[in-house]
Amino acid sequence: MTILRIIRDLLKYDSRFRLAFIFLSTILIMMLLSLVSPYNPNKTFVVAMDTPPSLEHPFGTSSRGQDIFWWMTFAVRNSFLLGMVTAALSRVIAIIVGLIAGYEGGWLDKVLMAINDSFVVMPLLPILILLGFLLRGKMNFFTLGLILGVFGWPWDARLIRSQVLSLKERAFTRTAVYSGTHPFWITIHEHLPFVLPIVFATTINNMLWSIGMEVTLSVLGLSDVSTPTIGTALFWANQHGALVAGVWWWIAAPTLIAIILFLGLYLLFSSINEYIDPRTRLRLIGG
């Protein structure tokens, strides 16, 4: 398997990838642990309140009488899922828009890029808030993922478009066109394979963005606070004044996990990105 070989090579020779692997394995293990959690994350006052980290409760317990470690296993899982939902949706839009704009060109390209640029200048937070009004409390983390997905594609669509533009110049496209192949066919069969590595790299970046956005919204109390996520962990800690109450572990745990998750994804992103093509690195940053 090439994938396995690539992973093995990366593990062996890229220290960033090694670190990313360790971090993400930790996260993955936590996510899997949620399946065997002894506590239901929606139940409060099941353990003693406000106990600092110990062997029994590795991350301590919260003022809601919950074991923070086991609660975080759900939080990580949900945050990660949110990232996946956002990434999946925005990837689909980005690929479609990018391929069509890049391949078709002309007025269609102009229209698509005008929409694209409008999305870039759209102030996300006020709009999310307006949508929050609109959805009236139906803002669970899945809907949030979808909304973020709708806003998370323009950078990457541009990237894919520029990639397609350069691919278009290459000989095989011309040959295909002269031999009468349908443009759509060319797009799917000839361009997509070249575009996919970029898609993969931007996926990770997009997940980072979406999970970060969730944290922002949750801290402000603008998301569905009854679902455990990294953001809602901080939300509930704030609601209980954890900082001045001295329950520092309640803030430290989500912070630590956020750092591990984010660094893991980020290192994976940069490592893979370089592996794919060092020259494209630059254009990928910021997606």
Partner: protein
């Protein structure tokens, strides 16, 4: 009580406190600090910018002469708009309604300085005619606006007239609905002729938190558009005038008037606080830190955890109660409000089942860390209400029965408060009182039983069915969802409370979820909810009259779900017996002792019907710092409400003294 493992809790609690202490101790500035004049305030964690309060807050304004209070509204924007009579102005709690404005009468939510009732700018109580169709107001003589103009009947007349004749004022609707005409027989008398009998017309002019304050006619009448006028600088009728304010709305500095004797407050005594500043100190944690650094004398409200931190780390901080639960119980009643028109919830048995499915101990722990003052009946357990309603009804409550499975069932649990105290003691130890009388006073008298078996039977009595998934279904077998709406960021304790109620219910098999909103009031008013943790019951606190909230519960104001409720009947409760009680109260004089009897009848009816489940007082963790000032109101000396956004807090200023 298997939900509460008891292992090593004491040890762990102490460890937690140690860490908290270490964290806070290290936050003290490195500068050496002088011990404050009073030994009791010497505290390692409590750093003092300067021991004596000699530093200047503004040129000429010494810290020890300036009481600093929290404005719970936060940053007041726009800061320069003091037109309190227009809805939307955000500056009311900046000291404006506490220090600068004045009203005809005040009813204290607590015992009051000279009793609950105070004739402020009025010379005597409202004088009604026999059938309550006219109300005569006699004004005090010798009161002056801060610009030297005398306060007269002209001002009162103008205040009502301008709001009645023009659109958009706060009381436009109320005055138009009630007043037929007005007359001014002399310089200090105004007579209101009412459209219909109304024995409570004076309540528009009686401060309970706020009211229709007096407008200076000589200022407003010069304005082309009085509604748009910003009233900056405000001309005050109170004992203080605005000295300076932040154009960004973060602080407002008030100065005692030189002619404070010519104000209604001055008649009660000398305001000893020379300057007062209302500030926007930021979220709960920042307020706690600010008080530990003695930069904030009166905190309006903080999280229970923040209060506990202050109790442990800042000995100069005092609350309403000397120790646990510290908080001042607002004369409002947070409750689980059911939409009485939703399928399932339209049945009394279901509402009762949901009530018995709530474990009040866990709710008190989750919301207030136990520092809640619970109430089984439909009036808040605060102010003078225990005396008016709880004590007379206690025996009735103990024998009160409802039908469960055809049998009489006594739902009252007089012991609930003791169990809360016991539970709280596990984390707070000695801070929690042990004396039963003390517990009753601070934590409330008792609540309804936590009895899932009875609840189960009640559900079955109502025809509800358990589905194969264990969830309750409607009699026709369809899904029954009861989302629990709550306030979000704006009110952490209520949100925490709602979250716990929802948890109790889902254990009972109710398909529910927490639906936290930033602004639930609108949805509540429209009735587009099933259950909601908020309040529809607000009382005077000091005065037993329940008409304050009951008036709009009459079926003639009833609006079906989907249309905006008129007044506070957002649960859509209609009951002929209730109408009778309301009508009877309305026909009585405000102070008629029969009102208390009718109030008790209301309470009995509400207990029977359970249109909403009463939970507890809205406990406000107002904390006052005694480093520079003393004489704050407390449960021992309950002369007024310390919660600084109440206009009633003006009385604090004649009792609070600088320490030096």
């Amino acid at each position: 009580m298997s939900n509460y493992p008891k292992t090593r809790r004491e040890f762990l609690k102490q460890a937690a406190m140690f860490v908290a202490g270490a964290t806070l101790a290290s936050c003290a500035p490195a500068t050496t600090t002088q011990a404050p004049p009073q030994g009791e305030a010497t505290q390692p964690a409590a750093a003092q910018p300067s021991g004596a309060g000699d530093e200047e807050i503004q040129p000429g304004v010494l810290r020890r002469e300036c009481l600093i209070l929290e404005d719970p509204t936060g940053t007041a924007t726009p800061a320069d708009d003091f037109n309190r009579w227009r809805p939307g102005t955000r500056t009311y709690s900046t000291g404006l309604q506490q220090l600068a404005l004045d009203a005809l009468w005040y009813i204290d939510p607590d015992a009051g300085v000279n009793g609950v009732w105070d004739n402020a700018v009025a010379a005597e109580k409202p004088i009604y005619n026999e059938d309550f169709t006219t109300m005569t107001v006699k004004l005090r003589q010798g009161l002056y606006w801060s610009d030297g103009v005398e306060f007269t009947a002209e001002d009162l007349y103008y205040t009502v007239d301008v709001q009645m004749k023009n659109d958009g004022w706060s009381y436009t609707g109320q005055f138009r609905g009630n007043i037929e005409s007005m007359e001014m027989p002399d310089k200090y008398t105004v007579v209101f002729h009412l459209k219909a009998p109304n024995s409570r017309f004076h309540s528009f002019f009686t401060v309970r938190w706020g009211a229709c304050f007096m407008m200076p006619k000589h200022v407003f009448e010069k304005q082309e558009d009085p509604l748009a006028y910003k009233f900056n600088p405000p001309v005050s009728l109170g004992a203080y005038t605005l000295k300076d304010f932040d154009p960004n709305g973060n602080w407002f500095l008030w100065q005692r008037r030189d002619d404070w004797q010519r104000t209604s407050l001055g008649l009660l005594g000398e305001p000893k606080v020379k300057y007062a500043m209302y500030i926007a100190p930021g979220p709960s944690d920042k307020r706690v830190i600010a008080q530990m650094e003695h930069k904030l004398d009166v905190i309006h409200d903080i999280t229970p955890e923040g209060r506990i931190t202050l109790a442990q780390k800042s000995p100069s901080s005092i609350g309403w109660f000397k120790s646990f639960p510290w908080a001042h119980p607002d004369p409002t009643l947070p409750a689980v409000i059911y939409n009485n028109e939703k399928p399932g919830l339209d049945k009394r048995e279901v509402r009762w089942a949901l009530t018995l499915a709530i474990d009040i101990v866990r709710v008190a722990m989750a919301s207030y860390k136990g520092a809640a003052t619970i109430s089984a009946i439909h009036v808040p357990p605060t102010g003078m209400y225990p005396k008016y309603y709880f004590e007379p009804l206690e025996d009735w409550l103990k024998n009160f029965t409802i039908k469960v499975g055809g049998q009489d069932y006594k739902p009252f649990d007089p012991d609930a408060c003791n169990r809360i105290a016991e539970e709280a003691r596990k984390t707070l130890g000695d801070l929690v009182p042990t004396d039963p009388a003390e517990i009753r006073k601070s934590l409330g008298a008792g609540w309804w039983k936590y009895d899932l078996k009875a609840a189960e039977q009640l559900m079955l009595d109502a025809g509800m069915k358990r589905g194969s998934d264990g969830k309750w279904k409607l009699p026709d077998g369809s899904d029954w969802k009861v989302p629990m709406m709550s306030m979000n960021q704006s009110n952490p304790t209520m949100n925490r409370c709602a979250s716990m109620v929802a948890e109790c219910w889902s254990e009972f098999g109710v398909d529910t979820m927490l639906d936290a909103r930033d602004n639930p009031w609108d949805i509540m008013s429209l009735g587009e909810y099933s259950a909601n943790l908020a309040w529809t019951i607000e009382t005077w606190g000091g005065h037993p009259d329940l008409f304050f909230f009951l008036s709009s519960w009459h079926s003639k104001f009833y609006q079906p779900s989907g249309t905006r409720a008129s007044g506070s009947n957002s649960m859509r409760w209609k009951n002929p017996e209730l109408d009778r009680i309301i009508e009877s109260i309305q026909k009585l004089d405000f102070d008629d002792p029969k009102g208390i009897e009718l109030g008790q009848e209301f309470i009995k009816l509400a207990a029977q019907e359970m249109p909403i489940t009463p939970l507890m007082a809205y406990n406000v963790f107002t904390v006052c710092d005694t480093t520079y000032f003393t004489g704050y109101p407390t449960a021992e000396d309950p002369y007024t409400d310390p919660v600084p956004n109440w206009a009633n807090t003006k009385y604090m200023f004649i009792k609070i003294k600088p320490k030096a």
